[in-house]
Symmetry: C2
Subunit: 212 residues, 2 copies
Amino acid sequence: MLDESGSKISPRTISRLPVYWRYLKELDDFGIERISSRELAGRIGSTPSQLRQDLNQFGHFGQHGYGYPVEELLSSISQILGLNRTRKMIIVGMGNLGMAIASYENFGRRNIKLAALFDVDPERIGTVVSDVQIQHADEMPKFLEENQIDIGCVSTPPEVAQEAVTTMEHGGVLGIWNFAPVKLQTKLPVEHLHLGDSLLELLYRIGRREDK
Amino acid sequence: MLDESGSKISPRTISRLPVYWRYLKELDDFGIERISSRELAGRIGSTPSQLRQDLNQFGHFGQHGYGYPVEELLSSISQILGLNRTRKMIIVGMGNLGMAIASYENFGRRNIKLAALFDVDPERIGTVVSDVQIQHADEMPKFLEENQIDIGCVSTPPEVAQEAVTTMEHGGVLGIWNFAPVKLQTKLPVEHLHLGDSLLELLYRIGRREDK
DNA sequence: CAGCTTATGTTAATCTTATAACAAGGCTTG
DNA sequence: CAAGCCTTGTTATAAGATTAACATAAGCTG
């Protein structure tokens, strides 16, 4: 049984799916064929209850008294996450962070294809990163017209992030992966990842620790 | 009134504090002196109720019928986050991501000082990034013995992340900022940031969008 | 092949988080 | 300087998420 569409999936569950996927992939690579919720949860650092609760939002993947078949479950979660089809991504803003993202080796295994890179700095334009040449950002509208792009990654300075997103939205991009620390005005799904915020959270926890 | 220690602060609240800090800093830079929960929440994309609820976990910063004094509130939140004192950070793993983190311009305003960089690749060792020279990872224990380091940033391949963390923990580091996709065995507070997981979450949401 | 063991799917209870409502108190204005 | 208007702090309510419990069903063993 698979993915009972219609029912709302909890956001918390969704954010754990990629973790499940990673661990299952590792198990599968090791040739392990089955796993119990207890053991998988143990590795992940979660609880059996939560794991089962999460999975059962999408269907029944396990077998009573046996556990979960790794390969099958991995395949199901891959499908739920949408990994069965290739997605094209572009990156705008090829500073240090943009470079790092473009060089990220793990896109392949997640079925993500780097389609284009954009920047405004003349010194960067023409540079080739991960087999893709950086173009001027002015070329983006035309590029988007000629190519169906799924993911727009924003690693520009915050001042120009909104502009980039607007261009992407008009160009038919389906979702935004945002590294710029600004609230974006768009109807597209946005996944936000901000280094500074994450670091401050750690800072707070370090401070609290010292108090005790 | 400030920071009623003892009461437990909700994790969700904590993760929003850095956002509040950013927006307040922006307001303060613009010379704005006061702001209401309604307006601030509007900018952030939150609700007035949640904002007040969050702030009141730490104390009473506002004034009835007036709102919040920006400079004072900013100062309070800075103190709560622990931004009043400088923290030293080291980075282990100077691949593309490590380079990007080391080059991150916003550490200064968060009172973070880059103290050292480590890698094992002979080609990288000796390179200077953000005024700091990359050393061999073998030097880390000695370095930690001679310097009190607060934050250990891990941007190594996953296979060696645990080893790096163990070394850091023994060396007296207070918290781990982890970019490697592995569960770390440590008693230190860990702040986890994984690009791949974030991207998969976006992928899922894009897929769900298309269904409708 | 029958009974036992095991680990699921699911329901129930607890705990956490978010939204809404409202009384209290300070600013502002005429 | 007093009355009214805001906007907070706080309490109450609702929604959401996690943990716990248990009945059910499949594999395994003797």
